[in-house]
């Protein structure tokens, strides 16, 4: 559904800033019907990728095909296949919910009968039924987001792009939004690409892409990504983490990674964590504030992958 090949995007140099490579020769294929999450720390290039994907800017090099159409050569055809939900509101606050939906239908050339049918469909899964004649201005954050999603789905896109759509929502509204999205995605066998920082949103995805400094670090199912870290890890907190890390390495010959006050022993085999924990407690009890065995979550994979990259290639992302 989405084929990205050797995509590179360089922001041109200006008087104050040098040229900056936001995306570095990225190749990625999202299969039809997949729910794909695009993640990465700030400045990783995912927003740039999103802008290019929805046809708002042109890259320095590379190609993208959306449902077989070249996005750069036939933007009209590619645009007709997709729906976009932006991070910032893209509805007119001064118009009512109904007027906004109607306008969207006009932009995509839906006939009156198709519009009526799709509107009914949208009313079935949203909580907007009684709010159609209210201005979007008066809606709560959660409802306003529902308008955005309902609007994008009105045209039955084969591909739905979402840019951090749950930003600013409370946890309950966020859950509602994601659940509705998953349900509709399964029913319609729609392809979804969503950028997100929130790893609980990524756990149910078919594929998770992790970007860092313009490079694609990983693109895999959540299960396989978790598998990359071994199955368990020992996590301990210490106020003297720097010193303690050195001593664990020297005395016990264990591999460690440190994030602030937290030390992680990630490459432990199944069942090996408990003996390690006991050994650590026996040796360094006084230096340890807390210690636990943890099943890796996607967030841990993310921290592992993006943290790794930092020390290796700090220059990546600058144009020499």
């Amino acid at each position: 559904m989405i084929q990205i090949e050797n995509l590179t995007h360089v922001y041109p140099a200006s008087r104050k800033t040098p040229a900056r490579t936001a995306i570095n020769s990225l190749t990625l294929t999202v299969e039809e019907g997949q729910f794909c999450i695009l993640s990465g720390p700030n400045g990783s290039g995912k927003s740039t990728l999103f802008r290019i994907l929805c046809g708002m800017s042109l890259p320095s090099a590379g190609t993208i095909r959306i449902a077989g159409h070249d996005l750069f050569k036939e933007p009209g055809k590619a645009r007709a296949e997709m729906g976009v939900v932006f991070q910032s509101p893209a509805v007119d606050k001064h118009l009512t919910v109904g007027e906004n939906l109607r306008l969207h239908a006009d932009l995509y050339g839906l006939s009156a009968s198709v519009y009526a049918e799709r509107l009914a469909e949208a009313m079935a899964w949203t909580d907007l039924k009684d709010r159609l004649n209210d201005k979007v201005d008066t809606l709560s954050g959660g409802l306003a987001r529902q308008v955005e999603l309902a609007k994008a789905l009105l045209t039955r896109p084969r591909l739905l792009l979402l840019d951090e759509p749950t930003t600013g929502l409370d946890p309950a509204s966020r859950r509602n939004f994601i659940d509705a999205l998953h349900k509709i995605q399964r029913e319609r066998r729609m392809t979804v690409l969503m950028t997100s920082h929130i790893f609980s949103e990524a756990e149910d995805a078919d594929r998770v892409a992790i970007m860092k400094a313009g490079n694609l670090l990983a693109f895999d199912s959540p299960q396989n990504l978790r598998g990359r870290l071994g199955r368990e890890m020992v996590v301990l907190q210490s106020r003297g983490a720097v010193v303690l890390e050195g001593r664990i390495r020297a005395d016990l010959h264990l591999k460690t990674r440190r994030h602030g006050d937290e030390i992680r022993l990630e490459e432990t085999d199944n069942g090996a964590s408990l003996p390690i924990l006991e050994k650590l407690l026996a040796t360094f009890r006084d230096d340890i504030d807390s210690i636990a065995i943890k099943q890796p979550a996607l967030e841990d994979v993310f921290i592992h992958l993006t943290g790794l990259q930092k020390s290796d290639t700090s220059e990546n992302g600058e144009v020499q």
Binding site: T8, H9, V10, Y11, P12, A13, A19, T21, A22, C54, G55, M56, S57, L58, P59, S60, A61, P75, G76, K77, R79, A80, M82, V84, F86, S88, P89, A90, V91, D92, K93, H94, L95, E99, R102, L103, H104, D106, L107, Y108, G109, K151
Partner: protein
């Protein structure tokens, strides 16, 4: 494309009508301007070759033009607001012709300007400037053509601007002089030579000729008047240049530097 443009234009119009202070402000200001200036200058005004024309009458199409000019140009300012509020991005990612995006905004601006100017046109018969139906038709044609040109020009300049205050500043520096030197305030005929030259190349003065014509000449006479036909031609070219220019701006997508 027409459907998309109409849908976008309708949105502009609905938004305008929902902001009553905007409606009142844009109609009341030129009317006050006209009444105060017009009454003040009325006694001392003698236009060459326009015997018996009072200043209130002379100034009337000028104020009409001012209304048209400002209403059209400032309706395009909403493109900056649309970009800030995020609405514009959903229009840009839709599979719609880029010309439809421009036309939507311009037609919205024209319809808003029309409402205001048509209200003002009601005053004409009471000023002793009655309009026959054919003349009224020509007047409306003049409104639409000049308003479309101004709205498209506003679009063209607003597209790359980031704040509406910047747009205000530039448009005031740019528009006020254009309007003053159009013949709206005083006749071109007794102006010094250099000023006269400026007035000739000023597109706003051609728009004024286009609007003033129907008040003083019958439609048949206008179509034989080379000055009026020239004004019509200039305005049409003006429309085309800024509509196409605006479309080119919308079409241009921000591009990455060569890798």
């Amino acid at each position: 494309m027409i459907r998309v443009a109409f849908a976008l234009a309708r949105r502009e119009f609905v938004r305008f009508m929902r902001q009553p202070h905007r409606v009142i402000g844009t109609v009341a200001q030129p009317i006050l301007f006209w009444l105060f200036l017009g009454s003040g200058f009325n006694a001392s005004f003698h236009a060459p070759g326009m015997n018996g024309v009072s200043y209130l009458q002379y100034f009337y199409p000028g104020v009409m033009l001012m209304m048209m000019l400002f209403a059209s140009i400032f309706s395009s300012i909403t493109i900056i607001e649309d970009r800030d509020a995020g609405f514009l991005q959903s229009v840009l990612v839709a599979p719609v012709s880029r010309m439809a995006i421009v036309l939507g905004k311009v037609m919205g601006g024209v319809s808003i300007a029309m409402v205001q100017t048509l209200i003002f046109t009601i005053a004409a018969p009471f000023l002793g400037m009655p309009l026959g139906l054919p003349s009224l038709g020509l007047l409306i044609l003049a409104y639409v053509l000049s308003s479309a040109g101004f709205a498209a020009m506003g679009f063209f300049f607003a597209w790359t601007m980031r704040t509406s205050s910047g747009f205000h500043a530039i448009m005031m520096v740019f528009l006020m002089p254009l309007w003053m030197l159009s013949g709206a305030l005083f006749p071109l005929e007794n102006a010094p030579g250099w000023l006269h030259a400026v007035m000739i190349i000023n597109p706003v003065s051609h728009a004024l000729v286009l609007m003033r014509g129907p008040f003083y000449s019958a439609p048949a006479q206008l179509f034989a008047d080379h000055r009026w036909l020239l004004a019509l031609g200039v305005t049409l070219v003006w429309d085309a240049v800024f509509l196409l220019g605006s479309m080119a701006r919308v079409q241009r997508r921000e591009k990455g530097a060569p890798a």
